[in-house]
């Protein structure tokens, strides 16, 4: 698979390439024929629920895990079996993994000392890094006395201090509280801009993936379902798995069948005609129709709409999620607060669907019909 990004960085090399990488633990395939490439300087997100192989992928890139098969290239060189030290990679663990017996200063200095850097150079870089991460006043503290946010920053600092070409981040925000998570997201993007290294970021959190990732790889069962920019994944999911993972609230999916004209669909909501008809649909084929909650609106007066009954109204401030029942299907729609204000549970509502925003998938495979 290749990068499909509008910002395809001209003149920049490939920082990392995985080709057919597999790793099994006993009978469990942690990653399975995994292939992708990451451009230099890119913020690349591995996204998927827990135990889809994100951590194993990162650990394989770092060299902590040896792949059973496949190749791993870093900076254009085959590093599949290279020792950890020469890979130019650093990693932040979900648990932060600070050295508990060492002070913040010594934690930050550790990678440089292992490189046998000069004492003055170490001192300079530690102070510089502490400055950037606002840790200067905590240099003498032991990790156990730090707050969660400070521990996180030490972990980041220890990874950045060696100026790695590639920085691996394994769910680094999972152990932080909500407010800190938000701040740290911004902080991570700032550090990425400032240092310009390639970042591989694993997360099960959709919001983190979409807000930080320049490129997102959606993972499932140790493989990649789709790689793309946040927009691409949102606008053109190639599989129901991606469609249901990206976008909040999640995409409405319901069964349908391809009509004889192979351009329109029989659905519980009546006949739907996507603006761009799939070319590979067979008459009578079972399909899944996907519609984003934001692509459903209330029909205008006089406009032909689908009759529905309001089931649940969830005000969320400036938007309201309204669940309606139409043709036996439960659909979620997102409405501006001003429009939704007058809607009550039990009301009848006529809804309209934007036919340019209808996604069609094969019912059997879940693949998008194109």
């Amino acid at each position: 698979m290749t990068q499909t990004s509008p910002r395809a960085s001209a003149g920049k090399g490939i920082a990392l390439r995985l080709d057919g990488l597999s790793k099994a633990y006993g009978s469990v395939r942690a990653i399975n024929d995994l292939s992708f490439a990451v451009d230099e300087g890119r913020f690349f997100v591995l996204f998927g629920p827990s135990s889809v192989g994100k951590t194993t992928t990162l650990r394989t890139i770092a060299g902590l895990v040896q792949a059973d098969s496949g190749t791993l290239e870093i900076g254009g060189r085959d590093m599949t079996h290279a020792p950890i030290a020469g890979r130019g990679i650093s990693m932040v663990f979900q648990s932060f993994a600070l050295y508990p017996h060492l002070t913040v200063y010594d934690n930050l200095a550790y990678p440089l000392r292992e490189e046998k850097a000069a004492r003055t150079e170490i001192d300079k870089r530690v102070k510089e890094t502490a400055e950037i991460l606002k840790l200067t006043h905590r240099l003498k503290a032991k990790p156990a006395t730090l707050s969660g946010g400070e521990q996180q920053r030490v972990a980041l600092g220890r990874s950045l201090i060696r100026r790695p070409k590639i920085l691996l981040l394994d769910e680094p925000l999972t152990n932080l509280d909500a407010k800190l998570r938000h701040e740290t997201r911004a902080e991570l993007k700032r550090l990425h801009r400032q240092f310009g290294m390639t970042v591989i970021y694993a997360t099960p959190d959709e919001l983190e993936a979409l807000s930080m990732g320049e490129t997102i790889a959606v993972m499932r069962d140790g493989g990649i379902v789709q790689i793309g920019t946040p927009d691409e994944l949102y606008e053109q999911p190639i599989h129901t798995y991606v469609a249901s993972k990206i976008g909040s609230p999640h995409m409405n999916l319901f069964t349908a069948s391809v009509r004889a004209d192979t351009r329109s669909f029989d659905t519980p909501l009546g006949t739907l005609v996507p603006a761009t008809a799939p070319k590979t649909a067979d008459a009578g084929e079972a399909a899944l129709i996907g519609i984003r909650p934001s692509d459903i609106r209330l029909a205008a007066k006089g406009e032909a709409g689908v009759a529905s009954k309001v089931h649940l109204v969830e005000p969320l401030g400036d938007i309201t999620i309204v669940s309606v029942e139409a043709g036996g299907e439960m659909l979620r729609m997102v409405l501006p607060e001003a429009i939704a204000a007058s809607i009550r549970t039990g009301d009848s509502a006529s809804i309209a669907i934007d036919n340019r925003k209808i996604h069609v998938f094969r019912a059997v495979s879940g693949q998008a019909m194109t």
């Binding site: 060299g63 902590l64 950890i84 990679i89 932060f96 292992e114 006395t145 521990q151």
Partner: protein, 312 residues
């Protein structure tokens, strides 16, 4: 994780801790005093004049505490008994002779510290192996290691005596140190394995990514984190070995005799009945080294013993 790091190093803010008032403190002090009484009685006896040991009622205090304690409970402290430990006349009216106890004390210190340290070095390495590089059937090996401690020493000693006789190790330093090392190993491996198991493997992986080789990860990252465990294991091993009597009795020779064995012989020989003040003096001296070691390691010890008991 933030909390588990806190917990691991004892820095966690104590929650639900309610400092005791004077009433509870006093009650505990009384119980502690009763607990300590036998040891105190031995220590006092060591300072009593020879005739005082068997007095009824016993003399209880070296000082009258400004007249608070009636005179017949007060004894006149003396250091005479301590002198007798090392040199005394073995026959009535005989000239004082060296008792050899200086040698026995040296033996006890040498044998106990050598075997406990040896067990600590070998056991810690083995424990790390069992923890990080488990064998097929890892638990079986750990179980087998412990089997020697499942039987009473008196049973285990029989094959050991035979083995030692065959290879000619009876009575030698090497033999008794090897035996104690083997016995301490079981305990050390089990203790240290549980300490290593508690460490976060992520921390070691982080060190590997930061450029450390396997050996450096062990020495610079793992070992410093289990210092409390090393201290606790050392002290417990030392106490067990220091006080061990049966193996020492049967396997040490005249030159390698340890204090517990010598103590037994000192009080039961000579045909003058048991010299209680002399015995108390030996015991008091015998207490000092372990007491000092435990005292200086106690901070580590307390942390080590409670290590990992609370999942945070």
């Amino acid at each position: 994780m933030a909390e588990s790091i806190l917990g691991k190093f004892g820095f966690g803010r104590a929650s639900g801790v309610d400092k005791a008032g004077w009433g509870r403190t006093l009650a505990v002090a009384v119980v502690a005093f009763i607990y300590f009484l036998p040891v105190l009685f031995i220590i006092f006896t060591a300072f009593k004049p020879q005739g005082d040991a068997l007095l009824v009622p016993p003399t209880l205090s070296p000082t009258s505490l400004f007249g608070l304690i009636p005179d017949h409970f007060v004894f006149k402290p003396t250091l005479e008994n301590f002198g007798s430990v090392f040199s005394r006349s073995m026959t009535p009216d005989g000239a004082p002779e060296a008792t050899g106890f200086d040698r026995y004390f040296f033996n006890s210190i040498f044998i106990a510290s050598a075997s406990v340290l040896l067990a600590l070095v070998i056991g810690t390495l083995a424990a790390f192996g069992f923890s990080r590089y488990p064998l097929k059937g890892n638990d079986t090996y750990l179980f087998i290691i412990l089997t020697t401690r499942m039987l009473p020493a008196i049973v285990v000693i029989i094959p050991v005596i035979l083995m030692f006789r065959v290879v000619g190790l009876s009575g030698s330093y090497l033999g008794i140190i090897m035996l104690y090392t083997a016995f301490n190993l079981a305990f050390t491996i089990w203790m240290m394995k549980s300490f290593f198991d508690e460490l976060s493997p992520d921390v070691e992986d982080a060190a590997r990514i930061d450029g450390s080789s396997g050996m450096r990860v062990f020495f610079k990252i793992c070992l410093p984190q289990v210092i409390a465990g090393l201290a606790a294991t050392f002290v417990f091993g030392l106490i067990l070995t220091w006080n061990e009597f049966l193996f020492a009795l049967l396997l040490s020779g005249p030159d390698t005799r340890t204090v517990p064995v010598a103590m037994n012989q000192a009080v039961s020989s000579g045909g003058r009945g048991t010299d209680w003040t002399l015995l108390a003096a030996i015991e008091t001296l015998f207490l000092v080294p372990v007491f000092l070691v435990t005292f200086f390691l106690q901070n580590h010890l307390l942390r080590g013993v409670t290590f990992g008991t609370v999942k945070r």
